[in-house]
C-alpha cells in the first residue's frame, strides 16, 4: 500500500493551487509604482570594433529617461567567472573581462551595446532604434579548431590566444594511459559532436531593479535558481554593494534547467540603473533576446578511444575534447567541461586508466554554461557510444559487454578522482530490459519490417555525480564558492513551523516535498509546515538549486536544523515532564518518557518555548528556531539504465521512438510522483537533443536558430509514452536522507540510448553506419544511409 503522507508518499503539490488558477507570482507579474523600462540595443554582428556610438537622438526621444553605454560602467566591475581552472602546465586559465555593456568591442550577436530606459517599454524600444552605432566588422571566430591556429583573429585582444585552458586529467595518468593503448588487444575510436543546445525555460528571463533612497538599499527581482549567489556575485564583484544593502528576490520561476543559475548583465544593469535614476527599472526578455543572451549548453567536439583486452575488459580510455566557451566566461562555464565532465568518464565501469584532455576555446558566440546535466551528458554520451561501437567491432553483445565491465563492489574509487559510495548497475539494467521487453524485440522487428520499417534498440548505463558538492574538494579544484546548503527551521508557538531554505524551486516542488520530510521527523501533518525560499531577506545564505542538489544538500541541511530543534524541544519536554532529556522520545507529535505513561504534545512544548513560565531558563534559551549549514562529504551518485527502441523509415530517414524505458537508482525517494515527473522532463530534453534540437550559427556568427520556429523543441507528438521506474534503491551512505537526486538523470541517460538504437536499426537494415551526430533529423539519418 503506497504511503499517504511523509517520506515516500506521492503528496499532491501544494504550489499547484496557485499555478492552476493563474495566481502564480512570477517576476514579470511584479510591477512597482513608478517603474521605468529598459530596452537593450544588442549587437547584430558577431565580432566588431565600436568606432562610434551616437545616442543623442535617443536621449531626446519621447519618454526617455537616460541612455546608458559601456562608458557608464567603466568604474564598475565585470561579470565574474566562478571557477578557475588550471591548465596542464599548472597555469591559471585565461580569463577575459566581461563588461555589463560592451566597451569598445562586440563579441557575439546579442552582446548589449547600449540600454535605453524610458517611461514605457515601447518608448524605450522606439528610442533604441535612433541610436547610431558605427561598428567595424571583424572576422568572426566560429570553428573551435580554426580558432586555435596561430593566425586566427582573437576574440579578446588582451589574451594571448583564443584558448581559455588546455586541461589534462589525470595528468599523471597520461603516460600510463598511452602505454596501455600500445598494448591493447583492440582499440575503438569515435569522433563525435555534442551539439550546442538552448535551455529554453518557458519563462523568459526578467529583472527588476529597485532602490530605496531612504535606506540606501537595492533590491533585485530576478528569474534565478539561486538568489544568494546572484547577491554575492553582483554585490561583491560587479556593483560593489555590501550584502546588507542588497536584497535579491527570485519569486516563482518558470523553469531554469541551468540557464538561470548564472549572473547576467541585465541583472546588474537594472540594479545599477535603478540607483542612478532613483526609479525602479524593469527588463523583460523577449524570446529572441533569450536566444541571444541566455547562456547556452553543451557544444563539445570529442575524439574518444577505448582500449580493450581480448575478452572485452576495458583497459584504458582517453579523450580529447574541444569545449566552446562562447565569447565570455559565464559564471560556471569553466567547470562544466572539466570537473563536471572529466570526473564522470569512468561511467559505471572498471576502467583502470583514464586520461581526459579538454581545450576550452573562445568564439564569437553566445556564452556556454551548464545546461541540465552539465558535463555529465557529454561524458555519458561519449562513453556509451564508444562502448556500443566496441561491442559491435568485437562481436560482443552490448548488454554483456557492459555487464562484464560494471563496477560491482562499493565503495569504488575511480581513476578520475571520485569515489562511488553505492550502486547496483546490474539491477537497474535488468529492470530496464524487463520494462522494455528486450527479449521480445525480434518479433517486433519482424512486424516493423512488414511495414517497411527498420527497428533498432539501444541501451545505455549512466552514472552522474550530483548533490554538488563538498566545499573543500571543489575549493581545491578551483571553485570560488562553497557549495553547502542552509536551512532555518522556525517553530511557531502553536506548533506549526516554517523552513527557510537556501534551495530554490523553479518547478521542482520543494514546497511539497520538503514538508514531507519535516512532518515525518516530528510526526505532524504536512500542512503544518511552510517552506520559504527565493528571497535573500528571509532565508539563510544558501547556494541554490542546480546539479540535482536540492533534496540531497538542501534537504540534508533542513534535517540537520530540524534535529537541532527536536533536541531542544526534548529538553523542554523533559523539564515539563520532570524527566531526563535522554529518556524523552518524540513520535507522532507526542513527547513521552520511556517506560512511563507520561506524555506531552508537540504543541504544548512549542508553546512553552515561547511562553516560558515553567521553563529551564537557567539551562536553555526561550524560543525554538535553529539554523544548519550542511556541507556534503561526497557527491551523490545516481545511476541507471535506459532502453530505447526506434523505428526508422528507410525511405525518409524519419525516426520514431516506439518505447523508452528508464530504470533509475536515486537512493531513497521522498515523493515518487515528483521524482517521476523529473525523469519525464529530463527524458524529454534528452530525446529533444537526440532527435530535434540544435543551435546553429552561420560562418559570420549569425544565430540561425533564434526562435521557436527555427529551434525545434520537443512537442507532445514527438515523444513516446515513457516507462519509468525507481524501485532499485541503493541509498546514499553519507547524507541523512539517503537520497541521491533525480533532476538531471533523464537528460543524461537518454541521448546515447536513442542514438545507439538508431545506429542499431541502420545496421540491421544492412547499412554500415557506426555513428550519426545529433540531432538525428530525417535528413541526417537519410544521408547516413546513402
Amino acid at each position: 500500500m503506497p504511503k499517504d503522507h511523509g517520506i515516500g508518499a506521492s503528496s499532491k503539490r501544494r504550489e499547484d493551487v496557485r499555478f492552476l488558477t493563474g495566481k502564480g507570482r512570477y517576476t514579470d507579474d511584479i510591477n512597482i509604482r513608478g517603474q521605468a523600462y529598459v530596452h537593450f540595443l544588442r549587437s547584430d554582428v558577431a565580432h566588431g570594433k565600436i568606432n562610434g556610438l551616437d545616442t543623442s537622438a535617443a536621449e531626446s526621444a519621447p519618454g526617455v529617461l537616460r541612455v546608458f553605454t559601456g562608458a557608464d560602467f567603466e568604474g564598475v566591475g565585470g561579470l565574474p567567472c566562478g571557477w578557475q581552472v588550471t591548465d596542464r602546465e599548472g597555469n591559471p586559465m585565461q580569463e577575459p573581462a566581461h563588461p555589463v555593456l560592451a566597451q569598445g568591442k562586440v563579441r557575439h550577436v546579442g552582446d548589449p551595446i547600449a540600454a535605453v530606459v524610458a517611461e514605457t517599454y515601447e518608448q524605450a524600444r522606439d528610442a533604441a532604434e535612433q541610436i547610431t552605432v558605427d561598428i567595424e566588422e571583424l572576422p568572426a571566430v566560429m570553428d573551435m579548431k580554426a580558432a586555435l591556429k596561430p593566425d586566427a583573429p582573437k576574440v579578446h585582444e588582451d589574451l594571448t590566444s583564443n584558448l581559455c585552458y588546455d586541461w589534462g586529467f589525470v595528468e599523471e595518468n597520461r603516460e600510463a594511459t598511452n602505454a596501455a593503448f600500445e598494448k591493447a588487444h583492440h582499440v575503438t575510436t569515435l569522433e563525435l559532436v555534442n551539439q550546442r543546445l538552448v535551455a529554453n525555460p518557458m519563462e523568459p528571463r526578467v529583472a527588476i531593479g529597485d532602490y530605496a533612497a531612504h535606506s540606501d538599499e537595492s533590491t533585485l527581482y530576478t528569474t534565478s535558481q539561486n538568489p544568494h549567489v546572484i547577491r554575492l556575485l553582483m554585490g561583491a564583484f560587479v556593483l560593489g554593494i555590501p550584502e546588507h544593502k542588497l536584497r535579491v528576490v527570485a519569486p516563482d520561476v518558470g523553469g531554469g534547467f541551468g540557464s538561470k543559475i548564472f549572473h547576467y548583465a541585465e541583472e546588474a544593469f537594472c540594479t545599477f540603473a535603478a540607483k542612478a535614476l532613483k526609479r525602479p527599472v524593469k527588463w523583460v526578455s523577449s524570446r529572441s533576446e533569450a536566444f541571444l543572451s541566455d547562456a547556452q549548453g553543451r557544444d563539445h567536439v570529442t575524439r574518444i578511444e577505448l582500449a580493450l583486452d581480448a575478452e572485452g575488459h576495458f583497459q584504458a580510455l582517453r579523450t580529447e575534447t574541444y569545449a566552446n566557451m562562447g565569447a565570455y566566461l559565464s559564471t560556471f562555464s569553466t567547470s562544466v567541461p572539466t570537473w563536471l565532465h572529466g570526473t564522470l568518464m569512468a561511467g559505471n565501469y572498471r576502467t583502470p586508466l583514464i586520461y581526459v584532455n579538454v581545450k576550452a576555446v573562445f568564439t564569437n558566440t553566445v556564452p556556454v554554461d551548464a545546461y541540465r546535466g552539465a558535463g555529465r551528458p557529454e561524458a555519458t554520451f561519449q562513453l556509451e557510444r564508444v562502448i556500443d561501437k566496441a561491442a559491435r567491432e568485437m562481436g560482443i553483445d552490448p548488454v554483456e559487454l557492459r555487464r562484464r565491465n560494471f563496477v560491482t563492489e562499493f565503495p569504488y574509487a575511480t581513476p578520475v578522482a571520485v569515489e562511488y559510495d553505492t550502486g547496483d548497475y546490474n539491477a537497474t539494467l535488468d529492470r530496464a530490459l524487463e520494462m522494455a521487453d528486450w527479449d521480445g524485440f525480434e518479433a517486433r522487428a519482424a512486424e516493423s519490417a512488414k511495414k517497411g520499417l527498420w527497428r533498432g534498440r539501444g541501451i545505455n548505463s549512466y552514472i552522474e555525480a550530483c548533490g554538488i558538492a563538498p566545499s573543500q574538494l571543489v575549493g581545491q579544484l578551483g571553485a570560488r564558492a562553497g557549495l553547502y546548503e542552509s536551512a532555518t527551521v522556525r517553530v511557531n508557538a502553536t506548533g506549526g513551523l516554517v523552513v527557510m531554505t537556501g534551495s530554490h524551486s523553479h518547478g521542482q516542488g520543494h514546497e511539497t516535498a520538503f514538508p514531507q520530510v519535516i512532518a515525518d521527523m516530528i510526526g505532524i501533518d504536512e500542512s503544518q509546515v511552510e517552506i520559504v525560499h527565493g528571497d535573500t531577506a528571509n532565508t539563510p545564505m544558501g547556494m541554490g538549486t542546480y546539479g540535482s542538489r536540492s533534496i540531497a544538500v538542501g534537504g540534508s541541511a533542513m534535517v540537520r536544523a530540524a534535529e537541532k530543534v527536536i533536541a531542544k524541544a526534548k529538553k523542554i519536554a523533559a523539564h515539563l515532564m520532570e524527566a531526563a532529556p535522554e529518556d524523552v522520545e518524540l513520535k507522532d507529535g507526542q513527547f513521552s518518557v520511556a517506560g512511563t505513561d507520561k506524555s506531552i504534545a508537540w504543541g504544548d512544548v512549542t508553546l512553552a518555548a515561547y511562553v516560558p513560565h515553567n521553563y529551564p531558563l537557567d539551562e536553555i534559551e526561550p524560543g525554538l528556531e535553529e539554523t544548519a549549514f550542511y556541507d556534503p562529504s561526497n557527491f551523490t551518485y545516481p545511476a541507471g539504465a535506459y532502453v530505447c527502441e526506434v523505428e526508422v523509415d528507410p525511405e525518409t530517414g524519419k525516426v520514431r521512438v516506439d518505447r523508452f524505458a528508464a530504470a533509475d537508482d536515486f537512493g531513497n525517494v521522498v515523493n515518487p510522483m515528483i521524482v517521476e515527473g523529473q525523469v519525464h522532463g529530463g527524458l524529454a530534453q534528452g530525446i529533444g537533443q537526440a532527435l530535434l534540437e540544435g543551435c546553429t550559427y552561420d560562418e559570420t556568427g549569425q544565430l540561425l536558430s533564434a526562435s521557436y520556429m527555427d529551434y525545434a523543441m520537443p512537442r507532445a507528438d514527438d515523444l513516446p509514452s515513457f516507462q519509468v521506474d525507481h524501485s532499485c534503491q541503493t541509498p546514499c551512505t553519507h547524507n541523512p536522507l539517503g537520497v541521491k537526486g533525480c533532476g538531471e538523470a533523464g537528460a543524461i541517460g537518454s541521448p546515447p540510448a536513442l542514438v545507439n538504437a538508431v545506429v542499431d536499426a541502420l545496421q540491421r537494415g544492412g547499412k554500415d553506419v557506426t555513428h550519426i551526430d545529433m540531432p538525428l533529423s530525417p535528413a541526417r539519418v537519410w544521408a547516413a544511409m546513402q
Binding site: 522532463g681 530534453q685 521557436y708 507532445a716 515523444l719
Partner: protein, 161 residues
C-alpha cells in the same frame, strides 16, 4: 504612434475600460492593463502557446491578437476557469496527475483543453497529443498532461475513477 484608444475588454464576464495604443497586444493588455497576470507570454510569436486564451470560446494566441480587435468579444483567461467552488475537472486532474512543474505554460494548456474537451468529450491519446502539440512545455515531457486530460475527460463523461 503614441495615440491611444479607449476600449472595453470583456474578460471572464468583467468589463475592463482601458486605454491602449493601436499596437497593444491582447496579452500585454490582459497582463498590464487588466491586471490579469495568469496569462503568460513565452515567445511572442505564436509558437509556444503559453498565452492562449479563449475568444468567444475558441482558443487563440493572445500574443498574436491586438487588444483593439477584441471589442465586442468575450475573452476567457485562466482566471476565469473553474467555478465558484474551485477547480474545473481539468484543473483537478492536472494536480492529481502532476501535469505541471514550473507552471508557466500551464495556463495556455488549461485554456486550450477547456475548449477542446467541451467539443470532444472522448479523445484518444493520439488526439490528445495532437492537440497538446500546440503548446510547448519544457518541464513535464507531456506524459502527465496527457494522463490528466484523459482523467478529466473521463470524469466529465461521468465515468467512475
Amino acid at each position: 504612434m503614441d495615440s491611444r484608444h479607449d476600449i472595453e475588454l470583456s474578460v471572464n464576464g468583467d468589463t475592463h475600460r482601458i486605454s491602449v495604443q493601436a499596437r497593444r497586444l491582447l496579452s500585454d493588455a490582459l497582463r498590464e492593463d487588466c491586471g490579469l497576470t495568469g496569462t503568460h507570454v513565452g515567445c511572442e510569436h505564436g509558437v509556444c502557446g503559453a498565452c492562449t486564451v479563449l475568444i468567444d470560446g475558441r482558443p487563440a494566441r493572445a500574443c498574436l491578437t491586438y487588444a483593439m480587435q477584441m471589442e465586442g468579444h468575450e475573452i476567457t483567461t485562466i482566471e476565469g476557469l473553474g467555478g465558484t467552488d474551485g477547480y474545473s475537472p481539468l484543473q483537478q486532474a492536472m494536480q492529481d496527475e502532476h501535469g505541471l512543474q514550473c507552471g508557466f505554460c500551464t495556463p495556455g494548456i488549461l485554456v486550450t483543453f477547456e475548449a477542446y474537451l467541451r467539443d470532444n468529450p472522448d479523445p484518444t491519446e493520439d488526439e490528445i497529443r495532437d492537440v497538446l502539440s500546440g503548446n510547448l512545455c519544457r518541464c513535464t515531457g507531456y506524459e502527465n498532461i496527457v494522463a490528466a486530460v484523459k482523467k478529466a475527460a473521463a470524469g466529465m463523461r461521468g465515468e467512475p475513477e
